[in-house]
């Protein structure tokens, strides 16, 4: 898997961000971008058929552990952001009765 693949997925997510009319779709596209980024980062530490990064004896062909450690945090942050965004969109539906961006702009709070 090359980093090109993750860039393609990022571009798909960006395309979704700029074209989607619905809040839920925007949140999904945000998640797509984030997942692609996690893929990109994990690619950085990839060394082919590498060993797991636990030093018991000599492991010359070790996978870089740092990107993995960082990406766990990113996943947690992404999950909380997505959860909060979905919670707010429930509230928005209660107040406005719609989840379309353009209808939301027209209606006064």
């Amino acid at each position: 898997m090359s980093p090109i693949l993750s860039f393609i997925i990022i571009l798909i997510g960006l395309y979704g961000m700029v074209t989607s009319e619905n809040i839920i779709k925007s949140i999904i596209c945000f998640s797509i971008i984030e997942t692609a980024l996690i893929l990109l980062f994990l690619n950085l530490g990839n060394v082919g058929l590498g060993d797991i990064p636990i030093i018991i004896e000599e492991t010359p062909n070790m996978v870089d552990p740092l990107p993995q450690a960082l990406m766990i945090t990113t996943i947690v942050i992404g999950a909380s952001t997505t959860a909060l965004a979905f919670m707010i969109s429930i509230k928005i539906f209660h107040y406005y009765g719609t989840l379309e961006w353009d209808e939301l702009l027209e209606r006064e709070g």
């Binding site: 990022i10 960006l14 961000m17 700029v18 074209t19 989607s20 009319e21 809040i23 925007s26 949140i27 945000f30 971008i33 984030e34 980024l37 990109l40 980062f41 950085l44 740092l66 990107p67 960082l70 945090t73 990113t74 942050i77 909380s80 952001t81 909060l84 965004a85 707010i88 969109s89 509230k91 928005i92 107040y95 406005y96 961006w101 353009d102 939301l104 702009l105 006064e108 709070g109």
Partner: protein, 533 residues
Amino acid sequence: MFMDLIPVLIILIPVVTGVFIYITRHYKFNMLVFLAQSIVTGLALRYYFYLGRLKGEVFLNLGNWSEKISIVLKNDYLSMTFIFLTIIMWWMVIIYSWKERKKDSKFYFFLLFLEGVFFGLLQTNDLFNLFVFIEITTIISTILILYKMTGESVRAGLYYLLFNSAGIMFFLIGMAFIYYSEGTLSINELTGKINISQGLNLTNISYISIIAAIGVKSAFFPVYNWLPKAHSAAPSVISALLSGLLVKSGLYVFIRINSMYGLESFREFFIILGLITAISGGIFAISQKDIKQILAFSTVSQIGIIMIGLNQLDGNIIGGVFHIINHAFFKSMLFLSAGIIIKTYKERDTTVIRGVLYELPLVGIFILIGFFSISGMPFFNGFISKSIIKYGVYSEFIIYAIHFIDILTITYFMKILQVLNKPKGLNVRYKVKRCNNSKVPVVILGFLCIILGIFYQPIGRLLLRTEIKYIDLFDLKEWSIYSSKLITGYIIYKYVIKKDYSLIKKIRKTNISFSNTNYLFILFITIMLLWKL
């Protein structure tokens, strides 16, 4: 040993106190907010003197791993300045909201948690922790923006959250490039070692994507339209905090990232961008009627001036940093006063509210002080930082542009100032309701504006370690320039803006949808890529 651990303590004490307040959920424990604030203030002061003995740069390596991969907290005079600013702002916010929200444990939980996270953001020395802290700040400030849970605030909160989170993803992309080419994420390790050759290589693309992410966070030209929405929908306390400090977190990261890369080819680009930001923010502010919208767009305009100050061609950022501090003081004071006015009159439209100077004399006077500061009158703090910025700009054109921005500022502030007086034939009776917010923070911030405007030399020496010599408060030329600007602004207001032409109405009604905002964001990145080519 204890002294070394202070940076960790000032992150942890507010967070732990906040969690304790939230878990116990008894309103008497809310008093602990003051205790935590006092302890943090004491520790920060103590650490400042410790810093003075150690040549002004202290690293704290947590866990004693190698420099390249461990979590390191770094403190220097810049971060200490911001820490003191944070402490002052949080004191003001807590005192202001105390009477109203005495029994609201949830509010103080989020407020204190945000403070701790913000200290972390200021002190961290690696890019990934910076990302984590920025994200937590975004999430908590979203919750605080929609705290009132009205329709408008919920909408603004979602807009803020999604746009900022999508923007910050580009920070991660930039980070991936840096890690791929340099093998470390520590800012200190990277400083001066990054390969900055010309053309479109990995480092330049990483710089562009990181700056794009920060640009969303700190409201640069095409991508600032989350800011007025969020500022006007949030409670006034939170608007003061957002405008005074949280927007500046992006600018702080901007300073750090810029000094890490040391790229000089982007300085002119940022000066132009700052000018466009300032002028467009000013034009939008002129068209608004809502007092909080005017102040929010004015924040955008001032951020443009700060951008000019942070990218001066000789590499001196003192003017920008000074203006960040000054803007934090007067803009949060104005937001807090606006909060008091809105609570008292139950009205936000500047064309309707009248007679503030008679109903709320103290607030009226301090709004005047805020006006003098923001428009750059000598003896007030805005004059000092704007003079430093003008002194560092070599181009005549930009100096005239800054004068033009000042005139814009005066013009839109005339709209706010019209609430002060009371026309004679006015028969409308307001249902004036006494509001229970404290006026002490407004007074303190107002006096800080004047103190910074007069005693700028010792303060600059203590915090920013520079001598500010070339400003003359009694210079007749400055006074005449200021008064002519004042008169021009007033004339423009009286004969053009007050008529409310259809063009102004059209600008006021401009509303950019979410997908168009994303187009603008992509456009922003494209422009930067083209500049680098």
